[in-house]
């Protein structure tokens, strides 16, 4: 009965949010994407058996799959970390009414079990298991193996919850994964071998499925305990007030009229959990090039390299910039009624992004190791980022009216994830544009022409900066009232 209440509340929250109607188009796109992935998973699952047979004809396909299944789980973990929206629930009004805490927490965790991300794995492995059964594999083994896989998928689900809420868990897992992958990659120690043996054992000895089941229960319990511990209102009960460490930023005054905003933005990033997290992530983008430049395969596909090069310097720009003006949502009314022309506000954000791109560019100098061609691409990418990508990002921000709670890490019930799928969709043109800009002149003329085209687009953007800014300002100005209203709604 209580469950019914929760679902009812949730449904109302969903329908009555002010950005709901505006987001319909994006929601439809998301549903289409989900359908696409589902179809793809079912299709791949159905052919998994034949594919395994094709590649390693001498090995039993189930053994092949077991040997490689860890990579799927790895992919799932990363995919979830970036894409999965964790459940958000407004617990404050529920705290004083007679519902047991554990009921609420069970509900919340139960809700995550119904996430699309869990079904993705099921959609992949269910058809595979059906094929196995049709081919005459032992029913009991296949069934128990499937149950084990589902338990592991759910374990990843709960683990992801912990990773997102608890920085310590995040760093431990990330470090462990990175070092294991590194050891494997450099051939020091192949962890995938024992893991493969483990999965095969799961198949051959059905009673071993107790292990994944226990793992899942354990992680569920860990989540339960973690949330229960955090089930107090930070403001009301156990308030920890951080002492301020003020830094003198007056040296930034040389930036003129945008200086007050820049100083504010530095404090914003430094003193709030969420922007801090985004900044850390954008730092990781610096290493994005390593994935592409080290692969021989990409040497012949310079369009992909152009795309990667743009990412090397554009991490902060994209991850921070896409949430302008949401960063200021908590005090947006102040900014709108204070002595600030919109133009100046936007310009200060632009300068911040330019500074970030410049710093990333300086840090990317070691990429010279991969040759001047690569470095030329990074430089062209940086110009593109400053002159064009920054404007596209600010433009995308005008469409983004989701308020952000800046300092939310401490609360176990709000979504602290830095990314969301909607933002990814808005980001598509930013990713495709540099590839196109490069590819057409590259095909028609040569490599250098491609580089020049990317760089030129950035330079043109800088030249027409004032014109572009007045266009963007118009768009922001038009959406002003809607944005204020949407930000006033607390998530």
């Amino acid at each position: 009965m209580k469950l019914k209440h929760f679902i009812n509340l949730e449904w109302k929250q969903f329908l009555r949010a002010s950005y709901f109607q505006k987001g319909v188009a994006i929601k439809i796109l998301l549903i289409l994407a989900a359908l696409y992935f589902t179809a793809f998973a079912v299709f791949a699952g159905a052919f998994l058996f034949s594919i395994a047979k094709e590649f390693l004809p001498k090995v039993d396909p189930i053994v092949t799959i077991n040997n490689f299944i860890i990579y799927w789980f790895l992919f799932e973990m990363v995919f979830r970390f970036f894409m999965q929206q964790l459940p958000v629930m407004n617990v404050k009004p529920l705290m004083t009414i007679p519902i047991k805490r554990s009921t609420i927490i069970h509900y919340l965790l139960g809700k995550t079990s119904l996430s699309f991300f869990n079904f993705l794995g099921v959609f992949l492995f269910l058809p595979f298991c059906i094929v196995l059964l049709v081919k005459g594999y032992a029913v009991i083994n296949v069934l128990c193996w499937f149950v084990s896989i589902v338990c592991i998928i759910l374990s990843i689900n709960y683990l992801n919850f912990l990773i997102n809420k608890n920085n310590a868990v995040f760093y431990i897992i990330a470090l462990a994964l990175l070092s294991l992958i590194g050891l494997e990659y450099y051939g020091v120690f192949a962890i995938s071998k024992p893991i493969g043996i483990g999965f095969n054992a799961l198949y051959n000895q059905p009673y071993l499925m107790i292990i994944p089941i226990l793992l899942m229960v354990l992680l569920y319990y860990a989540n339960f305990k973690y949330i229960k511990k955090g089930f107090y209102l930070d403001d009301a009960v156990s308030k920890k007030i951080k002492e301020v460490n003020a830094t003198d930023l007056s040296w930034m005054d040389r930036f003129g009229s945008v200086a007050p905003f820049l100083k504010n933005d530095i404090k914003l990033i430094w003193r709030n959990a969420r922007p801090k997290q985004v900044m850390m992530m954008s730092f990781l983008f610096l290493f994005y090039g390593l994935i592409f430049y080290t692969q021989e395969a990409y040497r012949d596909m310079p369009a992909f390299l152009a795309f990667a090069s743009m990412f090397v310097t554009g991490g902060f720009l994209m991850s921070f910039g896409q949430l302008v003006p949401s960063w200021d949502s908590e005090y947006y009314k102040l900014l709108m009624s204070q002595n600030i022309p919109y133009r100046q506000y936007l310009e200060s954000k632009w300068y911040l992004m330019v500074v970030a791109v410049s710093i990333s560019f300086v840090l990317s100098v070691p990429y010279i190791y991969f040759g001047w061609e690569i470095f030329g691409m990074i430089a062209a990418g940086a110009l593109f980022n400053i002159g064009l990508n920054s404007f596209i990002t600010l433009f995308g921000g005008a469409l983004n009216r989701v308020p952000i709670e800046l300092n939310v890490k401490a609360k176990a019930f709000s979504n602290t994830n830095g990314f969301n799928p909607t933002q990814m969709l808005i980001a598509m043109p930013k990713i495709l544009l540099p590839m196109l800009l490069f590819y057409i002149p590259y095909k028609l003329i040569n490599f250098e022409a491609g580089l020049i085209a990317i760089a030129l687009s950035g330079v043109l953007g800088i030249i027409f900066k004032n014109y572009i800014f007045s266009k963007i300002e118009d768009i922001y100005q038009k959406g002003k009232y809607k944005t204020i209203a949407a930000f006033a709604e607390k998530n």
Binding site: K242, V244, A246, P260, N264, Y332, M336, S337, Q338
Partner: protein, 235 residues
Amino acid sequence: MITTSNLSKKYNDITVLNIENLDIPKGQSFGLVGNNGAGKTTYFSLLLDLIQPSSGYIKNNNILVHESEDWKPFTSSFIDESFLIGYLTAEEYFYFIGELRGQNKADVDALVAQFSDFFHGEILNQKKYLRDLSKGNQKKAGIVAALIGNPEVIILDEPFANLDPTTQIRLKAIIKNLAKKQGVTVLISSHDLLHVTDVCERIVVLEKGEIVKDLATSAETLRELEAHFAGSEVV
């Protein structure tokens, strides 16, 4: 200073504010009273161009507020906590507002120093972020920030709510001083009839979005207002 003409605000055909004509001369301390939902905050939000009028306009010093941003340099306001930047300390917040209004640190320090008794030692040098202050102290910081940079128009929504009695009395002195001595146009709204009659030269009563009374404050005003809100007119 502030001219309101044929102003209305509708949400889905429900009129929440409808003011045919309202002129507030320069240097007046103007009080807006009314029950919940009377339209006080709506009027202030329109005045600050935070929401769009359905019809009519407000002119602030002959500037149409919903078309130009030029009223911003001489207008300041504190409506609610969303006017505070939670991750700054009170000092940093004052300096930030100061910079926006062309005041240097010394100017801000000098102004803020006048309010040390108003702050009661709980705002400055606290090494606390604004988000960690109590509601009342947040309000004090917001009100003082609205005084930075010699604004000609100051708008305060419910300034007395959440304040302790000592601070209420001090705030009243501050507002009186602003209007009488410095010629600042002060607009406040309040549920507290006693405070508002104490501070304002003129009081307008809003009811369901319409002006039902427009009084020049006199000794009789408080009784008249009390009678009005009690539901019986004074004869």
